[in-house]
């Protein structure tokens, strides 16, 4: 049962901090709450015995993405409170939309029969060794092609970032 409590705890943390991302007025707070969420999710990954993902997750999200966010906030000096509040109407509509979406999704998914899924006692697939094998055999092509993606992102970021001479 310990695992379940852990799961619930991590979930609560994640959901709470995710909510706080939305509710925070200051962008910087949002970013920090988001970091918290990411850490909670990393906990989930560990719980799933997906250590590789957990590590990558922390590196990529908490390490890279969060820094980028913070960097942008600082760079553009966006950290002002109460910026551009949405009207209540929009908030209500958004809340309704979210609620409906949740209800519909859960309503559809709740019937999912667990028995159809194999439930091995110990999942070892999340280990670096296993994942690496898969990644570099079966998923070699996408792996290589993701370099193109990065390259284009890089080129693009440079293009947007640099000042034109004209």
């Amino acid at each position: 049962m310990f695992q379940v409590y852990l799961f619930l705890f991590l979930s609560c943390v994640a959901l709470f901090s995710a909510m706080m991302v939305l509710l925070s007025k200051k962008p910087i707070h949002s970013v920090l709450y988001l970091t918290l969420t990411f850490f909670a999710l990393a906990g989930h990954y560990i719980l799933l015995n997906a250590q590789f993902l957990a590590v990558v997750h922390v590196i990529v999200y908490a390490g890279a993405i969060m820094v980028l966010f913070l960097f942008t906030v600082m760079l553009l000096n966006l950290n002002k409170e109460g910026q551009f509040p949405k009207t209540t109407l929009v908030k209500i509509i958004a809340a309704i939309a979210g609620g409906l979406l949740f209800v519909v999704l859960i309503g559809s998914l709740k019937s999912f029969d667990l028995a159809t899924v194999s439930n091995p006692a110990v999942s070892q697939i999340g280990l670096v060794k296993n994942l690496g094998k898969t990644l570099f055999s079966q998923y070699l092509l996408p792996f290589e092609l993701s370099s193109i993606l990065f390259l284009s992102a890089m080129v693009g970021a440079v293009m947007l970032g640099k000042k034109d001479k004209e």
Partner: protein, 109 residues
């Protein structure tokens, strides 16, 4: 590490589904309520993360590594996406001195 989590699969899969759905929904709501582009980016990240976790959970429960590989790719893409998004944000900020998406309405009708 390998033995610490031997019994974790006792958690029902539906917990993950519900949790991920909730997280996803929060992300969606975040995109909808926020006018700050930065906050919207963050909300999108929440959505992507919920998908990630879901994939990882399915992967673990199915004992199939491809799900987790997919998560890896998603993270790659997410990183690239955020880089591009923030670059765009900077450009927009430069030209209009704000990151409020509501002022993006030159193009309409």
């Amino acid at each position: 590490m390998e033995t610490t989590v031997t019994q974790l699969q006792m958690i029902p899969l539906s917990y993950y589904i519900i949790f991920c759905t909730a997280l996803f929904t929060i992300g969606v709501v975040g995109v909808l309520v926020k006018r700050n582009a930065l906050a919207i980016f963050m909300s999108v990240e929440l959505m992507l993360n919920s998908a990630n976790l879901l994939l990882a959970a399915f992967s673990a429960y199915r004992n199939d590594p491809s799900g987790q590989v997919f998560v890896f790719f998603i993270m790659v893409v997410a990183a690239a996406e955020i880089a591009i998004g923030l670059a765009l944000l900077v450009v927009v900020y430069r030209s209009s001195r704000t990151i409020d998406i509501n002022i993006l309405n030159r193009l309409k009708w």
